[in-house]
Symmetry: C2
Subunit: 230 residues, 2 copies
């Protein structure tokens, strides 16, 4: 028996999405056959207009409605701290956790197995941003770095950044990317005023059992112990 072409097309399109296998793709497609046409049209137009309403911020590289984005232009946020994250989803997660600083989204991790090197990410971009900031803070070398930044970027370089939190994932690729960025920033620090580099805390998740934690997590949790004064 042949599956109708329009059904086959949608199944194949769904299968291309991450985490959706052939069975789920089939299930979703046959579910949509039962859905009112308006809802189908809504899904279709949401997909096709996804990129139309979004821009990549030229400062932090997060995805937003405007450029520069809402976070970068918000003077009410803590402009001394930048969290370096892998993806815009991480920004949402940190926002929910109450982070009030700025972000830099590098859009991926260094992954030699997948042929992704530092140049495929917004890491150089982060370095330029930090250089601009340090130039602005010293007030002397400012002109030396002017060629790196457009008008919009310039307004963001206010020399306030005191700390970079490396908030990439805590898996192997995230760790090595954090290490790579940390080395680059140390190099920068040698030249000009120092920026503090921190790594997001690793340890037991809240609600976790010590018995069930794996060895490495427990090791990290011991290393990352903090003083406990009531």
């Amino acid at each position: 028996m042949k599956i109708p072409k329009s059904i086959r097309n949608l199944i194949e399109a769904f299968e291309r999405l991450p985490g959706i296998g052939p069975k789920t793709a089939q299930r979703l497609t046959f579910y949509l056959l039962h859905v009112p046409s308006e809802e189908l049209e809504m899904l279709s137009s949401s997909v096709s207009s996804l990129k139309l309403g979004t821009k990549i911020c030229s400062i932090c590289r997060n995805v937003g409605e405007d450029d520069p984005c809402e976070v970068c232009t918000d003077r009410g946020r803590d402009r001394e701290v930048i969290a370096v994250v892998e993806s815009p989803l991480d920004v949402l997660a940190l926002e929910k956790a109450g982070f009030k600083g700025l972000y830099h989204v590098i859009h991926g991790v260094i992954s030699p197995l997948n042929n992704i090197g530092p140049d495929d990410l917004y890491i150089n971009d982060l370095m330029k941003r930090l250089k601009r900031e340090s130039a602005a803070s010293e007030g002397t070398e400012g002109s030396a770095y002017n060629y790196l930044s457009g008008d919009v970027l310039d307004s963001a370089a206010s020399g306030e950044i005191k700390e970079v939190i490396l908030a990439t994932n805590t898996n192997m690729e995230g760790e090595s990317t954090a290490m790579y960025i940390s080395k680059l920033i140390s190099g920068l620090n040698g030249q000009s005023s120092a920026v503090k580099i921190t790594r997001i805390g690793r340890g037991l998740p809240v609600g976790g059992d010590i018995v069930y934690a794996d060895d490495i997590t427990l090791k990290r949790a011991l290393e990352g112990r903090v003083s406990f004064n009531l």
Copy 2:
């Protein structure tokens, strides 16, 4: 921080699909931001043209490209057996398993909790089909049932059906729907020539361990034992 409207729209559209929660909807949406525009357009058009290329077969109610569908018009299939299934996906599964008979898709199960009664499904439709068939086989009452069938349907009523396999799912709703249909067919059988009613076999899945099987499955497996002669 505000999520851009076009992103929010797509997340909400994905969340409406079955088995896709808020996190998966977010993940899919942000994945699509990285996808080339052509692929995005392909997904969008596949969704919007899903229903355009499909028809519901007026005989078996399966979804196909033509009406009547490929299976109903295929004279090479075993036209003595009809498998009654819940959805077009079940048809695909049975096709893969090598079933060579005909189908009847009732598009759901009787489910009082979800306000789905027999009249919301293609069960009456199945009864009419069986009546037409039995009328055709007797050759006398044919005219009495003519009003039930259009020209297309008439050509399918050849009075060959000898067995109805109730192949609804083996959960509670599937079982009770099978029971309901079985009673209806028994009623029909009283009036005219008998059609054999069978239920799809229930027991241990192939590769299954007796130790891990649940009580009811094991009970069904014992009831459904078959003679084993080499």
